[in-house]
Symmetry: C2
Subunit: 165 residues, 2 copies
DNA sequence: GCTACATGGTTGACATGTCATCCAACGGTG
DNA sequence: CACCGTTGGATGACATGTCAACCATGTAGC
């Protein structure tokens, strides 16, 4: 397939440096945050983002597919994870009356308690390891870049490989 | 425990925007790259980085612990992954004579063939989705930030929770 | 009102990652 | 040399993620 015309331009030093250091940073940063969160609160990073999303929604409830889109998760991953969280009593599923295929996901009181306990420590760690190390201009650059890349990714959802036959 | 003195300063809008868009970008970008690589070459992203590291080393060989440090992987993850790659014939383990605890990891000819076939398409995708969307100044900002954060993470390896007594 | 396809969600088999633990070989120290 | 903490690495049990079906509904087209 389309390696096709022209040489497959390699990354130059500047590009390589940005790309690989970013990858490595994310790997290690996520690992560090996940360890802190699990150690201090018994929540995984994934539990945490689910609870943040739900507690931020009206009535602490959200349709499963909305949640999946918001987090960028595949539906099967979401389903499996919700099953585990439900077993631990952090969330509950309810049937949706208006669309009988669908399901609501709701935070339980216990889920609320868990995230309220976990949030301060987690945010402090995000600050200590990342946010507080960046200048306002750097923060804006990061946000702009990330949003631009996300737009590209969004734009090509639902059309196969771009160099399609 | 140590949420301690002072209010746990939340993230403001600018900080929140940078942090969460970066997280989401990485999630989706990695997923997209992994799918392309697997579809077109039968390699996972993890296979790919291991092979890149090895083929870049003298004689296509590296001590396992060096590889682990370079990639930022835990040793058990590395060990498991090398076992799988070895079963598929991409790498091989050899005993190290000078330090009899240690092991060398070597790319096989088949491993070389696999990565040479995979690299152009993967690099093209990294360009298309990320690198080519950024200005040189943005690339430099990313690299500087990532290296700064990595330095923080490095600095605190091997001393327990930072708010230590 | 069918047929046909799209959507929301679940499931099971399998790939991958993590933690805790273990082991053997190093590297000092006395 | 005997002791002892450290290091490089492997392993097993378990948590998590992915892929590929599958099912039940919804929504058009005619």
């Amino acid at each position: 397939m389309g390696v096709g015309a022209g040489s497959p331009r390699w990354l130059d030093d500047r590009e390589q440096r940005a790309w690989s250091s970013l990858q490595l940073m994310h790997l290690r940063l996520d690992a560090a945050l996940a360890r802190q969160l699990l150690r201090d609160s018994g929540l995984s990073l994934q539990d945490y983002v689910v609870l943040v999303a739900l507690t931020g929604a009206p009535e602490g409830r959200m349709r499963a597919f909305e949640l999946g889109r918001l987090l960028g998760w595949e539906k099967s991953r979401l389903s499996h994870h919700l099953t585990r969280m439900a077993q631990r009593g952090l969330v509950a599923r309810e049937l949706c009356e208006v669309d009988r295929r669908g399901a609501w996901v709701v935070v339980t009181p216990e889920g609320r308690r868990a995230i309220e306990a976990a949030a301060p420590g987690h945010v402090a760690e995000v600050r200590r390891l990342f946010v507080d190390r960046l200048s306002p201009r750097e923060l804006d650059t990061i946000a702009a870049v990330a949003e631009r890349v996300l737009a590209v990714l969004d734009a090509e959802e639902g059309k196969g490989a771009p160099p399609g036959p």
